[in-house]
């Protein structure tokens, strides 16, 4: 009888133990979707962003995952930088892979198309590098967050720098050169509008709109040179920027005409280290070298370089990394992985990121992050040029006033 009691006792204990272990092991992973343009024009930036995301996920999983118990499982999909494909792949991620959040995309057009899908299925949507402000400004979704300085903020930063230079150098006329798609158009429009206010003495001589993916810029180069503007304001995307720079250089373009506002992220600074004209006045979104004094950034750079054979992280990798950590802190604040609780927790949340302690603006879920303007110059610390004399334009000086957002949303309803 005693033996029987002991046997039952041991059996119950064993079952309880097995139940506990299995319940710990059975904690669902946090399925995180990454839908980026791994092919098409966004390939280069998307690959870098994915690497940043991977480093963040590795670090977080090494500590047990979100809330220490939900390991993050990545599901990666290629949107081909096309809105229709983006919508399809994100739906696949949500319905098939049961992702709770999606980081998407390189292209603003894709992010805008994906936003209503995420809202419909109540999935957190983080635009980590696509920066059209329309992602968060209009057609607002409480599930969509943006951790990149948006097109308005970048344009403000650029116009701030241009106005300073124009006053100093006596510039009067300029030509704009912008990629003919959502981001290029909205950024150019913002800069031109803003320059009318901050530097009313400046006049636009011509607006040029090369198509996205243009391979022959020579006609644009000679056309600009014939117009003899005081400077060119450029907002060319990714590869187009590289192609233009390469094709303009043999004309002596950069010796004759100040070229301002082009985006030179760390990707361009590295890939064109040998060839990039020094002295360009360039804008950047999240250069790591601007914040090496922040321990989180220093740690990220160390881990990233260790994982990717000494490569330095680009702006895109930095923002991919920040996107995951912003989500992590949202989950921590919510104390749950329930999407409705997480999105409520992230609204207005101040998060610790590689770029400092930054807050999501409650009205639009836009991260109140900085933009960076500097002069392309060599630095003995790095095997590539960096942006020297860096000006950090804080969100407070570059973000759109809330009243304008409210007005835009009201106009949208009409």
């Amino acid at each position: 009888m005693k033996f029987r009691k002991v046997f039952i006792g041991v059996f119950v204990l064993l079952m309880a133990g097995i139940f506990c272990v299995s319940s710990i092991q059975a904690a669902d992973p946090y399925n995180l979707g990454v839908a980026l343009g791994f092919t098409g024009t966004g390939t280069l930036y998307s690959k870098d962003q994915m690497e940043g995301i991977q480093v963040a996920v590795d670090e977080i999983n090494a500590k047990g995952g979100f809330l220490g118990k939900y390991p993050v499982k990545l599901f990666q999909q290629d949107t081909q930088t096309k809105p229709d494909v983006g919508v399809r792949t994100v739906k696949d991620l949500i319905l098939r892979d049961k992702v709770r959040a999606v980081i998407n995309d390189y292209s603003s057009a894709v992010a805008v198309a994906v936003k209503p899908i995420c809202r419909e299925y109540k999935v957190i949507h983080i635009a980590a590098i696509s920066n059209s402000e329309n992602i968060t400004k209009i057609n607002y979704s409480p599930y969509t967050f943006q951790v990149v300085p948006n097109s308005y903020m970048q344009a403000k930063a650029a116009s701030y720098a241009v106005a300073q230079l124009a006053k100093k150098k006596g510039w009067k006329e300029y030509v704009t050169l912008a990629s003919d798609y959502e981001w290029g158009r909205s950024t150019q429009e913002e800069v031109v509008t803003d320059l009318k206010k901050v530097a009313p003495f400046l006049k636009v001589k011509k607006e040029l709109w090369p198509k996205l993916g243009e391979t022959q810029f020579a006609s644009f180069v000679t056309s600009i040179m014939s117009m003899k503007p005081d400077f060119v304001y450029a907002c060319l995307a990714s590869k187009d920027n590289v192609t233009f720079t390469e094709q303009a250089k043999p004309y002596g373009f950069f010796d004759k005409i100040p070229y301002v506002g082009s985006m030179q992220s760390v990707t361009e600074l590295i890939t064109e280290a040998k060839t990039m004209p020094r002295g360009l006045v360039a804008i950047s979104r999240a250069p790591f070298f601007a914040h090496m004094d922040i321990p989180m950034m220093a740690n990220f750079v160390k881990n990233y370089r260790a994982k990717y054979k000494g490569k330095y992280p680009s702006d895109w990798a930095v923002m991919g990394y920040d996107a995951v950590y912003a989500l992590k802190q949202g989950v921590e604040k919510a104390g749950s992985i329930d999407n409705d609780k997480v999105k409520d927790a992230m609204k207005g949340l101040a998060v610790d990121l590689t770029r400092g302690k930054l807050q999501f603006r409650p009205i639009d879920n836009q991260l109140r992050c900085s933009s960076y303007v500097g002069i392309v110059r060599d630095d003995p610390k790095y095997p590539f040029p960096i942006l020297a004399e860096l000006i950090e334009i804080k969100a407070a000086d570059s973000e759109r006033p809330e009243a304008e957002i409210v007005a835009a949303r009201q106009a949208e309803k009409k």
């Binding site: 791994f38 092919t39 098409g40 024009t41 390939t43 280069l44 690959k47 011509k206 607006e207 040029l208 709109w209 198509k211 993916g213 243009e214 391979t215 022959q216 810029f217 020579a218 006609s219 644009f220 180069v221 000679t222 056309s223 040179m225 014939s226 590869k239 590289v242 192609t243 233009f244 390469e246 094709q247 250089k249 043999p250 004309y251 002596g252 890939t271 064109e272 040998k274 060839t275």
Partner: protein, 294 residues
């Protein structure tokens, strides 16, 4: 507007046009002789650019690296084109046009992925030899010195193809095959072999164009999808299968685009498509094509 700048704009258009000619001439030749509408043609052009980059990086330290890499890229691309013809293209000669388009489009996608696997997504840049890093001035207008080379290559290919078609035995066979492949076959000339070599020649020119392009800007994924549309516009304007038509069509597209940038930048691409559509409506066989081919 100063004349020097108009001249500069003309030279940009000329270079652009001749670059398009290098891509479109192979496309037109292959269609003219073999009746194959090769949507993957520009992808071979891109492969040529990447191969040129690879050869150049092997000899990077030498000033001659680029000049040697361009012909090597053309030869290597032609060899690859020959393999593709023997393995795949040969099997679709008798298919309907829409089937050929679908198959060659699929081929373009597969080759695009192959490029990504081999060379990765990073932009590839060739550092030009110092002799062509500075502009030269013609009649006071600044010109990219490398463009002189592009113009020479463009005209050399045009003259070379004209000479080949007009004065050589094989050229005569190719021209005869355009009009009656059955008659040429009946004379004991192996048509499949002729097709293979015509396709290889077309891809050789595409590879050469890719090599030339590689030093104009960065070599990037997706470049092919942009240029193939323009190459189709060129052959539609000039007339499929007509060498002179392709040359004239290329120069029209290049110059219209270049001067539109100067005077009506918003309409630059639109104008090209308007011209293409107008030709299709008024003269569907193109400026220099023959109604037979339409």
């Amino acid at each position: 507007m100063e004349l020097t700048f108009l001249f500069s704009q003309f030279m940009s258009g000329l270079t652009y046009g001749l670059m398009l000619f290098l891509v479109a001439s192979g496309l037109s030749l292959i269609f003219g002789v073999m009746n194959i509408l090769n949507f993957a043609h520009a992808t071979f052009w891109l492969i040529g650019a990447y191969i040129c980059f690879t050869f150049w990086s092997l000899m990077e330290a030498h000033q001659f690296a680029l000049w040697v890499s361009i012909p090597l890229a053309a030869l290597a691309t032609a060899a690859f084109g020959w393999v593709c013809e023997v393995v795949l293209i040969k099997r679709i000669y008798k298919r309907e046009l829409h089937e050929q388009l679908l198959i060659t489009y699929a081929m373009a996608l597969i080759l695009g992925d192959l490029i990504k696997i081999i060379w990765g997504p990073t932009d590839r840049l060739i550092v030009r030899p110092s002799i062509i890093q500075k502009p030269i001035h013609l009649f006071g207008a600044p010109i990219d010195s490398y463009f002189i080379f592009v113009i020479l290559i463009g005209f050399a290919v045009a003259i070379g193809l004209w000479w080949f078609l007009k004065y050589t035995k094989y050229g005569h066979i190719v021209k005869a095959a355009v009009f009656s492949r059955e008659m040429v076959g009946a004379l004991g000339i192996p048509i499949p072999k002729i097709y293979t070599w015509v396709f290889t020649l077309g891809i050789f020119i595409a590879g050469l164009a890719g090599g030339v392009q590689s030093a104009i800007g960065s070599v990037t994924l997706g470049m092919d999808t942009n240029i193939i549309i323009q190459a189709f516009c060129v052959v539609v304007i000039g007339g499929f299968g007509s060498l002179m038509g392709t040359l004239v069509g290329s120069l029209i597209v290049g110059e219209v685009f270049s001067f539109a940038i100067l005077y009506w930048p918003d309409g630059a691409m639109v104008l090209i498509f308007v011209i293409t559509a107008a030709i299709l409506i008024v003269r569907p066989w193109g400026l220099f094509g023959t109604p037979l081919r339409a």
